[in-house]
Symmetry: C2
């Protein structure tokens, strides 16, 4: 006797799916118009999305979070639709994205250092253990921090 699991794929209509993904309905329609996501349609013509679509949106948002624009995402999606022949292209694109992101990341870390230094400097002024005439440039220099 064969056991056959009847896995019923859950259908999410746009409102529920919007809540699930954190995007708005209009944003989902916008992404669809840009070709980033392809929801399905039930017989009555209403969109529905699945858990697989949710996974895809999550991944998409991570890529977006690394600084990819909608245009770049479209390119990725286009290649994805073309199948395995474009895997190296996609790999190369993602590597380029990572390179840019790492660079940006270092700048963010530097800005973070400067921000923290400034906070410490203000705190020192408030607490009175940095003298009134010590300016921020000197303070940075004393920490060997640039800019």
């Amino acid at each position: 006797m064969t056991i056959k699991a009847a896995i019923i794929e859950k259908h999410y209509r746009i409102g529920e799916f919007a809540a699930k993904t954190g995007l708005s309905g209009p944003t989902l329609r916008y992404y669809e118009k840009e070709g980033l996501v392809k929801p399905h349609r039930s017989d009555n013509g209403l969109r529905y999305y699945t858990d697989a679509d949710a996974d895809w949106i999550k991944f998409l948002l991570h890529l977006k979070g690394t600084g990819m624009t909608i245009e770049q995402l479209k390119q990725y999606v286009t290649w994805r639709a073309e199948g395995d022949a474009t895997i190296t292209k996609r790999l190369q694109l993602l590597k380029n994205v990572r390179r840019g992101f790492l660079q940006e990341f270092e700048e963010l870390q530097h800005s973070m250092t400067i921000l923290t230094d400034k906070i410490d400097w203000y705190q020192g002024k408030v607490d009175g253990h940095i003298s009134d005439n010590e300016d921020f440039a000197n303070y940075l220099a004393s920490l060997n921090h640039e800019e």
Copy 2:
């Protein structure tokens, strides 16, 4: 005999200053209109900037780099112009900025992890040590990485 160093403060006109700061001339004028920077004027009416202005711009760009908007920067500048009475306000503002930035930073790190996992997964497919039917969700699960 008193030695008096005649320190001549270098004046940068907008073009030179733009090159120095990496901003464009129009952007410098825009920042001025928004009250973020106050260049000086020579007798002929032309703007000039100093090294102190450059330091200020650099700091401003770091704040901007942490996600502060022009409006928030304006608030900071306004308080700065009001003098020491607003130091605690500025300190509080910068601490809030840091809190938001740290949060954003963690999300960026997570996106980075997912991006790298995807790159490794593609690389595995290309190199043939990840089987054709291993999907990315499984691969993430195997790494104990979420989403």
